[in-house]
Symmetry: C2
Amino acid sequence: MKKKDLDERKKKVLQAIVEEYINTAEPVSSGSITKGHGLDYSSATIRNDMAQLENIGFLDKPHTSAGRVPSAEGYRYYVNELLKDDNLTLEEIKYIQYKLKVKVNEIEDLTKVATTTLSEITHYTTVAVGPKADKQIIEEIKFVSLGQRMLMVVIVTDTGLVKETIIKFDEDITESQVDTLNNLFNTRLRGKPLSKIDKPMADYIFSEVHYSIGIMKAIIEQINRIVEEENNNIFLEGAKKSFDLPEFKSMKVAKNFVNLLDTKDEMLEIFNSGDAEDINVFIGDDDENSNLKDFSIITFKHTIGDKDLGTIGIIGPKRMDYAKVISVMKYISKKLNEDNNKKEGM
Amino acid sequence: MKKKDLDERKKKVLQAIVEEYINTAEPVSSGSITKGHGLDYSSATIRNDMAQLENIGFLDKPHTSAGRVPSAEGYRYYVNELLKDDNLTLEEIKYIQYKLKVKVNEIEDLTKVATTTLSEITHYTTVAVGPKADKQIIEEIKFVSLGQRMLMVVIVTDTGLVKETIIKFDEDITESQVDTLNNLFNTRLRGKPLSKIDKPMADYIFSEVHYSIGIMKAIIEQINRIVEEENNNIFLEGAKKSFDLPEFKSMKVAKNFVNLLDTKDEMLEIFNSGDAEDINVFIGDDDENSNLKDFSIITFKHTIGDKDLGTIGIIGPKRMDYAKVISVMKYISKKLNEDNNKKEGM
DNA sequence: TTTAGCAATCATACATAAAGAGTGCTAAAG
DNA sequence: CTTTAGCACTCTTTATGTATGATTGCTAAA
């Protein structure tokens, strides 16, 4: 049997098992889904279907007499083929609207509000990751002198991202030198993507400036450094909520979760790999030995028009309420885009 | 018996128990400390002392036949009276020197390096909390226009802290207005502490500016907002390390830990309450029902001269290696101050 | 004051048994 | 051919009892 062409009843059985397991966190027995979920068969019939669903890899059996649990494959089929994702209550919709109406001045704030709201409604841990630096356009680059031998550099991009750093020198800097720097870097870099200053550009800058090479080198080096260290701006909300979930009774799961949030690498990879247009669902592989084994991550890109404002996502157990999460995300994503296109048009 | 006047042997017994428990995480029996730790008595003698130490509240008994465990009181006595805190190895000293020698341009970076190093050497979770805003002096306040109706405000303080925000308006702003703003705010606020703009100051500003009240109101409101939201800059390092400790086998402990880091309030209170001059040791109360019950927090203020650069601390189990942690902290604290006074003198 | 000796206490580990849940298979019914 | 009833089988869970070992508290002697 091909995986894709399940007959109608098997689809219903799989769906019933996934939904039941999402609710109870207990393996689902054939007896418990004879009625409801659009099904009305004897447990023996369900058992037969379950055996076949297990054969094609959609279900797992913890042990002989324990009922079935969806496999990663099973979850994927459920998410892709069986999910009905329009189940927000009116209260939830109103709450989201209320929260997103808040007056924000920085896009970062809006992302945080959205992330917090998402966590409140879904009761899962949510994460916001800043946009990739190199996709952004430099709108302003400003040098401000701090004392004689210190300089602050502020770079502002079109998405409202602000990067700043302080550079120290071994020699004095005059105000007129600062003016020159402001002129030079602004005329050269404004409108360009926020990426490292390459060799030709550095050479050009050197050729234009008549004073200390040491200062210029330090500046370029430091700018390249802050441009490179992207995505350090991770915002985490509701980590403790995850610890109330039954899967966190297992120390191993809890530890993997903390590792995931502490190390960040694996998590970031998934956050950055998603498709820009869509809600992306990552379901941890069953067999893998990674920290992600027991978790699912669902992300979407926060965008206004074609500007990438970062990624917002949820980390939860594989037994996640996909329907709910995806519904909420779709709604929030739509709202974010709507409201801000309005504001942009001013 | 008064708590303070333990005879010499009882002191040694208490010390032996604390140190043994720190090493093994197992209740300490009378038999296991008959030799070593400067003791050479029979288990019966030790037992008598242990019974009395328990009476005055320095030891606890998990159950009748389980050996003894230090109480919070016991730890406190140990830390205050019995601790010998000079046990860094040469390798550790060299490693710290090597790490702190790194060239940093922002004080925030230095704090991070110190925090990371502290975590590496002690194997505990470390936390850095930014300095209190109102203790800092405004060194520069800069308005940068972003498009017609957006303005960025950057405030730099004497400790190198940078606060910035973006303000949106309903009307246009001209370059000359921005210049006026820069002049006005800099002459008025530079050298002042980073605190909210009060009524008289606001009134003065209003009286000086001839255009839109709406714009000025928005600016002052927003500046007050970012000044108020202090300590959002918490830097966490090595959370996963804690999960390797035996006490984290208990789900309750693990959950409290995550709550602590996620909610931040309780933790911040302790971080901000410490004495500026000293290493501060907080030991969770035995009976209390708080998230902190099972943990100890050790902090010190990162300062250069009299500038407060924030607080660096460790969160670990009550069974923490106090001697080691305090030694490392003292050393790092000294080094930070030394090196930077040198750099300051340029 | 210190110590040896010993009964008493309690957690832990282990073995065994009983109960319960759920499956897989077979054969009958629809 | 599909569905269902029936039942043996498997495996987990829980309870119970028992043995074991660690450690203490007390007493009496050194």
